[in-house]
């Protein structure tokens, strides 16, 4: 019951934040109170499971740690959203940006179900619902015309159906173990479904058009939180059906797809000028690393890598958000600094949290697939170069004078950024924070 209450709290918080979108300060305060209360509830809630229609929602140690870490990233993004309206002449479109936190909280409710459900098809369904809710925060580029969001919804339906069909093959296979066609069909449908929804190259084609219609914060939630939940579902399924990895080319597909994703993401990010697109492509680099890590089949700290990726992406998006909405000197400096810190954490440099997880994955990959290791190092170097270049562009851009309202928003934003950075560094220096997830 406690899990359902947590989901309900997320929905209520989302509705309240959305209702207060015209009053940025009240919106920020409501978001702050909501995320603190839900975070505390999620930390201390009893771990009793709930059964319904023969299925169960269970919050074990690993699920709770993973959800808490992702909720932390969601909270940071939700708290940064209302800071767009600080300028006295802020445009009406900022009202939509202000309420992004509402959509993040609303979308997080199904993600809780995704992580805690013991049924693969229902988890896939809940994940797709969360992605659908997130699309409410999109802003079309042309009125009434098909854009990236509408195309993504179509792909989401196709990918979800593909995953549900894969589940049927997985269920049927143990009845006829000699029929390897069923395993291959399941692997193909799984690769297609997860490949599309996780934007693994070459199925990442929807990412750019969708990023054009989302804000950097929306993209950060999509690639940082939603994709991490998807990887969790895939990981659970691989653990539940070990014969799937033994008797199908799924691991090879993950190795090749992961390496390709990292390289393509780094190259696309390097050439990109638009914020949201660059963020989406940058996020592909560590996702490729995680994919390669999964492809090795070794027990690696993948959840730690995913969490570090989500927090880093939240920081990068925060930096872009500051640079876009606070054109005064202080805002630009804070934006560039946040972007740089997030970028350093994203590529897994010490002392940030990703260092420990990335190091373990890199060691495993370098031992078994040296060529892929080189590709991953090159991709991360390109990603770092992209981040430094973008930070420099922000600093060297012309600045405007600021107002008192902007300074208040800036202080609030800096508080959020410092907290996320401290968590990233703290988790890097004390990696036992991830122990429960690493053990899993």
């Amino acid at each position: 019951m406690s899990i359902v209450l947590t989901m309900g709290a997320c929905v209520v918080a989302g509705i309240v934040v959305r209702a207060l979108r015209r009053w940025p300060r009240a919106c920020w305060l409501a978001t702050f109170v909501s995320v603190v209360l839900i975070g505390a509830w999620l930390t201390f809630v009893p771990a009793a499971s709930l059964s319904f229609f023969g299925r169960a929602l269970a919050l074990d140690v690993a699920s709770r740690a993973f959800l808490l870490a992702l909720f932390f990233a969601t909270s940071a993004l939700a708290l940064l959203a209302p800071l767009a309206s600080a300028r006295p002449h802020a445009s009406p479109t900022n009202a939509l940006t202000d309420s992004h936190g509402a959509f993040f909280l609303l979308a997080f409710a199904p993600f809780i179900a995704t992580v805690t459900l013991d049924s693969f098809p229902l988890a896939v369904f809940a994940w797709a619902m969360g992605l659908g809710v997130l699309m409410l925060s999109a802003r079309p580029q042309s009125e009434g015309r098909v854009g990236g969001t509408a195309q993504f919804l179509l792909l989401m339906v196709l990918a979800s159906a593909s995953l549900l069909l894969a589940n049927r093959f997985l269920e049927v296979y143990p009845l006829t173990p000699e029929n390897l066609d069923l395993v291959r069909a399941a692997a193909i449908f799984l690769a297609l479904g997860f490949g599309v929804l996780l934007a693994l190259a070459p199925l990442h084609f929807w990412l750019g058009p969708l990023a054009d219609e989302l804000s950097p914060l929306g993209v950060a939630f999509l690639v940082g939180v939603a994709q991490a939940v998807g990887v969790w579902v895939l990981w659970q399924q691989m653990n539940a059906a070990l014969w799937l990895t033994l008797r199908s080319p799924l691991l090879s597909a993950l190795l090749v797809g992961g390496g390709l994703t990292a390289l393509v993401g780094a190259l696309l990010a390097l050439a990109e000028r638009r914020d949201a697109r660059a963020l989406a492509y940058l996020a592909m680099v560590p996702l490729g690393l995680v994919g390669v890590g999964m492809g090795t089949g070794a027990p690696l700290p993948l959840a730690g890598a995913l969490v570090s990726r989500a927090w880093s992406i939240a920081l990068i998006a925060g930096g872009m958000h500051f640079a876009r909405h606070h054109p005064a000197r202080h805002g630009q400096l804070v934006g560039a600094g946040t972007l740089l810190v997030g970028g350093l954490a994203l590529v897994g440099l010490g002392p940030f949290a990703g260092f420990v997880a990335y190091d373990a994955i890199a060691r495993a990959v370098s031992a078994s697939h040296p060529a892929l290791f080189v590709v991953l190092v090159a991709a991360h170097a390109l990603a770092l170069m992209t981040i430094v270049r973008r930070a420099w562009r922000i600093i060297s851009a012309p600045v405007e004078s600021d107002s008192r309202a902007e300074r208040v928003a800036l202080v609030a934003g800096v508080g959020v950024v410092i907290f996320v950075s401290a968590m990233l560094i703290g988790a890097g220096i004390f990696p036992q924070m991830f122990e429960a997830m690493v053990k899993r």
Binding site: F53, R55, S91, T93, P121, L122, F125, A128, M129, G132, V133, M135, L136, A138, R139, P140, Q141, S142, E143, G144, R145, V146, G147, T149, A150, L153, L154, V157, L158, A161, L164, L165, N167, R168, F169, V172, E213, P216, R273, R274, D275, A276, M320, A323, R324, P327, I394, A397
Partner: protein, 226 residues
């Protein structure tokens, strides 16, 4: 001469209804015709579903389809009111022609002859696939109906320029996928959730269609198109 029993006649009528209703959505630009066709498609899909689940459960499909259609009806009507307003504000015949063309031309990216051709290709492909493969022991008529809906749904989605028409394509697609899923899985819980998802999809796409475009100034700000 082949003798048909009443079940086969009903199945043939349901499949015929599915083919005609989906074809109407591909071929006709008028949104009222398309919405009626969508509703008819839900009725026929429920008829097909009644072969794999109990009839009361199959009728839930009609209910969720009616909700989705109602959401789309209000959004389409609002879009048309916007069109009449733009037409009234147009100062001369040339401006009125531009408004009319932009309204009618933004439904599909290609004209009727090419849509007929695409529909024929989809029909040939569906018949070819449904008659040559077996898929997890699904009856051939159910497989044909599901694949036809998937094919026409993808076709409408690919050919659409307007979000609302794409929504019709997605709903056709989900209709086909639901039949495939229920015929293979048989989980009533999942069936119920998928029906709810249809309404949610219609809501999200209607919301997208109703939103004004992001202003150029907003898009040109730092970090975006420069």
């Amino acid at each position: 001469m082949i003798a048909l029993d009443s079940t086969q006649i009903v199945t043939a009528a349901v499949l015929f209804g599915l083919v005609v209703s989906s074809a109407c959505i591909v071929l006709f630009i008028d949104w009222r015709v398309a919405l009626f066709a969508l509703l008819a498609q839900y009725l026929c899909a429920a008829g097909l579903l009644s072969q794999v689940v109990a009839l009361p459960h199959a009728l839930i499909r009609v209910l969720s389809g009616a909700f989705a259609t109602a959401i789309l009806y209000f959004t389409f009507r609002r879009a048309q009111e916007n069109f009449w307003r733009d037409l009234a504000q147009a100062e001369d015949d040339a401006a009125r022609l531009v408004v009319t063309r932009s309204y009618y031309w933004q439904v599909f990216i290609i004209g009727v002859p090419f849509r007929v051709l695409a529909l024929a290709l989809a029909a040939v492909g569906t018949i070819g696939v449904a008659s040559s493969i077996t898929f997890l022991d699904i009856p051939p008529d159910v497989l044909f109906g599901a694949l036809w809906l998937v094919a026409t749904g993808v076709l409408v989605a690919i050919l659409s320029r307007a979000v609302l028409r794409l929504c019709l394509g997605i709903l056709l697609l989900t209709s086909g996928l639901v039949i495939l899923e229920i015929a293979t899985e048989g989980s009533l819980l999942l069936y119920g959730l998928v029906n709810i998802a249809d309404v949610l999809l219609a809501l999200v796409l209607a919301h997208l269609a109703a939103l004004p475009a992001a202003p150029g100034v907003w898009r040109r700000r730092r970090g975006e198109v420069q």
